[in-house]
């Protein structure tokens, strides 16, 4: 009989875990529901992609213009009939005081709104080249140096960072990665919503569950006074290995449930059907004056997959960290406190390191720091998000935690169980 199966059962026995899962899913669905008002508008993006493809070039631009003109004409016919007035731009309709939705039927309002959205796309397409030609990353480097008070070596690292990012930007422009249709980031902020608001919320939710479960399962025998019976059995201290396996499996289960259910609802609410292949560095995805420049060409689908992989890796790290603490401490409440303390310390340290020390960079290579900005994973945003940030953090912590786990297990093997 596999002992880890029994250990895995313990992970999900606690009613607290089930209640928290339900509560967290409710929070996630509530967040999606609150954002769902724009779902109809987002459908227009998919319609445009379906009609013209997402690659922006002269031919596509011309077709879109013609489509927009026809839409605007239809809209003006409607407004002439309703208000005795026509508009040069659909957007002007919404800025005028006489706009009263009650005069229009839902269908009529939809025609005007859709025209305004198409107009938004058409107008933004005209700005793409100009926006990217005006990007000066050396200025951004200077701004960052001033903003973070960097000097000496750290300032040099910053300048070097932006040179590399500039190379990537040139490559991106050359390949036309930015010239793809996507939800308009300035308006809908879908990247921030999915990867910052929702994903970060899920990261913390799963982390809470993982820490609770791992602390619970690992200390279970000591908490229930069954340690003498269990560790004197044939399996002996190897039971701790079974607990590690069970904890890792529980983490994968919890991550799958929270991610699976939440993302299923998310993609049912928001239609991404035609957008999976669009690079994340698309101009339309930008939400701020500084664009999202991914370090590699990452279509949305691949980007999401990568984020999910990093999500799970971080949760596995939290599992092993909690497990190692629990083997040493053996009291689940103290384990939770120790984990919180470690979390706090890992966030505190980069903030107190002198700005002139390169430690300001490498102290951020922790899973605790990493999970704060999932929307910037694989993206060159500022000097604290270098190209190697994700994989270096993953490799360093995999090695570190492998060593910690081995040391912990060797220690437990020689431990006096009283």
């Amino acid at each position: 009989m596999n002992v880890w199966r029994f250990e895995l059962k313990k992970a999900f026995q606690s009613p607290v875990v089930s209640i928290l899962i339900m509560l967290f899913l409710f929070f996630n669905f509530w967040l999606i529901y609150n954002h769902a008002g724009i779902r109809e508008e987002l459908k227009v993006t998919n319609q445009l992609v379906e009609r013209f493809g997402y690659k922006i070039d002269a031919e596509m631009s011309a077709k879109l213009q013609a489509y927009y003109q026809s839409k605007l004409q239809k809209m003006n016919e409607l407004t002439r009939k309703k208000f005795g007035k026509t508009y040069e731009r659909a957007g002007d309709f919404f800025s005028e005081y006489e706009y009263r939705s009650e005069v229009l039927s839902e269908e009529e309002l939809h025609v005007i709104t859709e025209t305004a959205i198409v107009e938004g796309y058409y107008e933004l397409i005209q700005e793409v080249d100009q926006k990217y030609s005006h990007l000066d990353l050396s200025k951004k480097a200077k701004a960052d140096i001033n903003k973070y008070g960097l000097s000496g070596k750290t300032a040099e690292v910053t300048r070097e960072y932006y040179k590399k990012l500039n190379n990537r930007l040139d490559e991106l422009i050359e390949a036309g990665e930015h010239k793809n249709l996507f939800f308009i980031g300035y308006v809908y902020r879908m990247h921030s919503f999915l990867f910052k608001d929702l994903m970060r919320q899920m990261i913390f939710e799963v982390m809470i569950l993982v820490v609770l479960i791992t602390g619970h399962v690992t200390t279970y025998e000591f908490q229930n006074q069954t340690h003498l019976t269990s560790y004197a059995s044939k399996r002996g201290r190897k039971l701790m290995l079974d607990k590690l396996v069970a904890n890792l499996l529980a983490t994968l289960c919890i991550s799958s449930v929270i991610l699976g259910a939440t993302l299923l609802v998310y993609f049912l609410v928001f239609d991404y059907s035609g957008l999976w292949g669009i690079p994340i560095s698309s101009f339309f995805n930008n939400e701020f004056p500084f664009p999202y420049i991914s370090w590699w060409k990452l279509p949305f689908g691949i980007y999401l997959s990568c984020v999910l992989v990093v999500f799970i890796i971080c949760q596995l790290f939290f599992t092993v960290i909690t497990y190692s603490i629990a083997v040493w401490i053996k009291n689940n409440y103290l384990v939770y406190a120790a984990f919180a303390l470690l979390f706090g310390l890992c966030l505190l340290v980069p903030g107190i390191v002198p700005n002139t020390s390169s430690a300001i960079f490498w102290t951020r290579y922790t899973p605790f720091e990493l999970i704060l900005n999932p929307h910037l994973w694989f993206i060159g945003w500022n000097v604290f998000f270098p190209k190697n940030y994700i994989w270096m953090t993953s490799v360093i912590w995999t090695c570190l935690l492998a060593i910690v786990t081995v040391v912990t297990f060797l220690k437990f093997n020689k431990e006096q169980i009283d």
């Binding site: 596999n2 004197a232 002996g236």
Partner: protein
């Protein structure tokens, strides 16, 4: 054969056991000593939960730490404070213990049914243990220790919480089991081992004081145990001169059983010493200390 070879155990500067030498072959061994004498420390070393500071424990000639799983699969152990999962039924809990003991699922299920019947818990086999009495829990503990049909059965205070009827049944069971295995029964209750132990091991001052059959051990105080009846008013004075073992009221007098090394008086009747007399005599200082506390 299980051999404890020059084993000492220290916790920092505190020495719990000193140079223990013991040999166990098939039979019941009563490990008899007051609480805090080091019985549990010795047992935890025999179960590999703690390790000797010096010396070694050998099973069939090989160090038990080196044998690891191969040794522990021969082992059945009931700890003094037997922990259990409150929300599990005996069946679920024993299935888990069976998995820890590396047993096949089918074998475990069959064995669980047998053992629950043996310890008279078959009616509550699927009930959650949180509502069980101390005696019922102890019986689950006994069942889990015997689950793998162990060659070495170590029971630390196994009769705690059992009623007199259950105690008798348990003793009979152990006698039967001990025919082809080592049964080590640690207790401070003399009656638990008196009728069934082939050998008694008494630990005092961190060392083995006596190891032998009950008759051999009783020889320690042979010719020193007497009974007499005295008026109550003389009792205080009398007890200053002898070591009182037990007292009871009989026909308006105090009937006292005692140990004395002096020449017996005519009113004293010599009696055959029993294990409890030896226990009380050997541990008189410990018992007085704990009574004072």
């Amino acid at each position: 054969m299980l051999v404890v070879n020059h084993v000492s155990k220290s916790y920092g500067k505190f020495e719990a056991l000193k140079d223990i030498n013991l040999e166990f072959s098939n039979g019941v061994y009563g490990l008899l000593a007051p609480n805090g004498a080091g019985k549990t420390t010795l047992i935890k070393m025999l179960t590999t939960l703690i390790f000797p500071s010096s010396g070694e424990i050998l099973y069939n000639g090989t160090n038990i730490t080196r044998l690891g799983e191969k040794y522990r699969e021969q082992l059945g152990y009931l700890p003094q404070e037997f922990g259990y999962y409150k929300n599990y039924s005996p069946k679920q809990f024993l299935a888990y213990i069976g998995a820890l003991k590396g047993m096949d699922k089918k074998v475990v299920n069959k064995k669980i049914d047998e053992l629950l019947k043996l310890v008279a818990l078959e009616d509550v086999a699927t009930k959650k243990m949180k509502k069980f009495s101390g005696g019922m829990i102890q019986r689950v503990g006994i069942a889990q220790a015997m689950l793998n049909d162990p060659k070495i059965l170590i029971l630390d205070e196994p009769t705690a919480g059992l009623d007199p009827k259950e105690r008798v049944r348990f003793r009979n069971l152990l006698s039967e089991l001990a025919r082809d295995r080592i049964v080590i029964l640690s207790t401070h209750i003399v009656s638990d081992v008196e009728s069934i132990a082939n050998e008694i091991i008494m630990i005092k001052d961190k060392q083995v004081l006596y190891k032998g059959s009950i008759d051999e051990i009783c020889k320690v105080i042979a010719g020193m145990v007497y009974e007499t009846s005295i008026p109550y008013e003389q009792a205080a004075m009398f007890k200053k001169e002898v070591f009182s073992l037990s007292e009871k009221q009989e026909d308006g007098l105090l009937k006292i059983r005692f140990i004395s090394k002096k020449t017996p008086e005519p009113t004293w009747t010599a009696v055959k010493p029993n294990l409890e007399d030896v226990f009380l005599y050997v541990y008189r200082d410990d018992i007085q200390e704990s009574s004072a506390i």
